[in-house]
């Protein structure tokens, strides 16, 4: 597992995300991300949690976490404390 905190990732659909925090739960890596504009100069409103995984070809990929219970759990631990 790669530590991706404070990195910027680009996905194959062109979207870019700043990794704000990362957690491993039951062997899976979850990323708290904030979308970044194309120019990589500004943060967008979009904040979400992604699951890191290998796709069938073995390439690293991310997917949205859909399970509400898991999202609540991850948000509790991933969101920066105010």
């Amino acid at each position: 597992m790669t530590n991706r905190i404070n990195t910027l990732i680009t996905l194959d659909d062109g979207k870019k995300y700043a990794i704000i925090n990362q957690a491993v739960y039951k062997g899976k890596s979850y990323l708290l991300v904030n979308a970044v504009n194309d120019e990589e100069t500004d943060l967008l409103e979009d904040v979400q949690i992604l699951e890191e995984k290998k796709d069938i070809n073995g390439d690293m990929a991310v997917d949205q976490v859909e399970d509400p219970a898991l999202l609540e759990l991850l948000a509790k631990y991933l969101a920066p404390k105010e």
């Binding site: 739960y25 039951k26 997917d63």
Partner: protein, 381 residues
């Protein structure tokens, strides 16, 4: 020749007295230089290696890993030196969907991103080599793909005007969609099969780090809003699926021609070349009101009668569709008067297919492949 050899040689020279003193002197000097160099070399390699300085933070970090602290100990604010690791015992009550990877791999034609994407690119490239094109068609007509990728292939195959009807049919009938069988809920688990690949990764620039720091307080609220939005979307989708209205007269679907014409005109004014597409858009919009899926018949021999090959299916259950008659003659007449059916060409089929696939996908999230299972005037088998 090393020092020992030279000394041995020098001894022999001295004993045999076979060389003059100048040469002997040179050899002695050479040996001395070699010895000095060797000593210096030994000094360098035997010097103590500097112990790397370990910062206090590093030491603490090491301790954290070894001691496995509680969850709260890991929450250190924005910037963490290492990813948080949740101790399972604290979270064991939370149900996490189990992804059975083995099932994914066992699929005979599971989506293999690069190959499929390459095949799509080749398929829609009118200048592709004949071998490459044939290979792409073979790949796509035998693949089993995730829903989104399946839809992409169907759409692009129908829109590429250089494709022959035979090629389209081969892909349309051969391409299969994967069954969403993994995970706790079908639609959720399906998403796991189409993750977005990470194609680049680099350290955040200083300016973005600063901006994150400045907006860090807003992140919990924004994250919460995103989660609520996802929950709401899921709830609405379930409600929509549970409340499918049944048309009063399911034997004959009388579409709202006025609405169709209005939609058609609106779209026509935006794009004069989109007239055939707009008609189907109108039909599907009208069909949506009646909760009927509009699909194409499998047999489309008569190009000029493309519209007449549309049929409607009433969704009774997730896996059961009842055929409903489609009062298409009137629609055909209306179309003729505006767009001119005589202009129909192969490209039009693509537009028709695209619209139907999109419409069905919009309504139910799953396109129906044209199939001989449906008989005109009968019921689905």
């Amino acid at each position: 020749m090393n020092i020992t050899d030279l000394e041995e040689l020098l001894k022999k020279i001295e004993n045999q007295n076979a060389i003059n003193l100048e040469v002997e002197k040179d050899i002695k000097k050479y040996i001395q230089n070699m010895k000095a160099a060797e000593e210096k070399s030994t000094e360098i390699f035997s010097a103590p290696i500097e112990t790397p300085v370990t910062s206090e933070a590093d030491l603490n970090h090491t301790e954290i890993i070894k001691e496995e602290p509680s969850v709260d100990d890991f929450i250190n604010g924005l910037v963490l030196s290492d990813p948080v690791v949740f101790p399972d015992e604290n979270l064991s009550a939370i149900a996490v969907p189990i992804i059975e990877e083995s099932k994914v791999e066992e699929k005979p034609s599971a989506y293999t991103g690069g190959i499929i994407d390459d095949a799509i690119r080749t398929l829609i490239n009118p200048n592709a080599s004949s071998d490459g094109f044939e290979n792409a068609v073979n790949i796509l007509s035998t693949a089993t793909l995730p829903e989104t990728k399946y839809n992409e292939v169907m759409e692009k195959a129908t829109l590429a005007s250089h494709l022959t009807a035979d090629v389209r049919t081969k892909i349309r009938t051969g391409l299969k969609k994967e069954s969403p069988i993994i995970g706790s809920e079908e639609n959720e688990s399906y998403e796991f099969l189409v993750p977005k690949k990470i194609i680049g990764s680099k350290a955040l620039e200083e300016n973005l780090l600063t901006k994150i720091g400045n907006t860090i307080k807003t992140i919990p609220a924004r994250l919460e809003a995103w989660i609520e939005k996802k929950k709401e979307a899921k709830k609405l989708k379930k409600e929509a699926e549970a409340n499918i209205a049944i048309p009063e007269d399911k034997d004959i679907l009388n579409f709202d021609y006025q609405q169709i014409m209005m939609l058609e005109k609106t779209r026509y004014s935006k794009n004069g070349q989109d007239d055939e597409e707009s008609l189907l858009h109108g039909i599907t919009m009208s069909a949506r009101k009646k909760d009927v899926i509009v699909a194409q018949m499998d047999n489309m021999q008569d190009k000029n009668a493309a519209y007449l090959k549309c049929v409607g299916f009433l969704k009774k259950h997730p896996d059961e569709y009842e055929f409903v008659k489609f009062n298409n003659q009137n629609i055909s007449t209306e179309v003729s008067s505006i767009t001119g059916v005589e202009k129909a060409n192969e490209g039009m089929y693509g537009l028709v297919s695209k619209n139907l696939i999109n419409a069905i996908n919009d309504i139910y999230g799953m396109p129906i492949q044209p199939s001989n299972e449906f008989e005109f005037g009968g019921k689905s088998k």
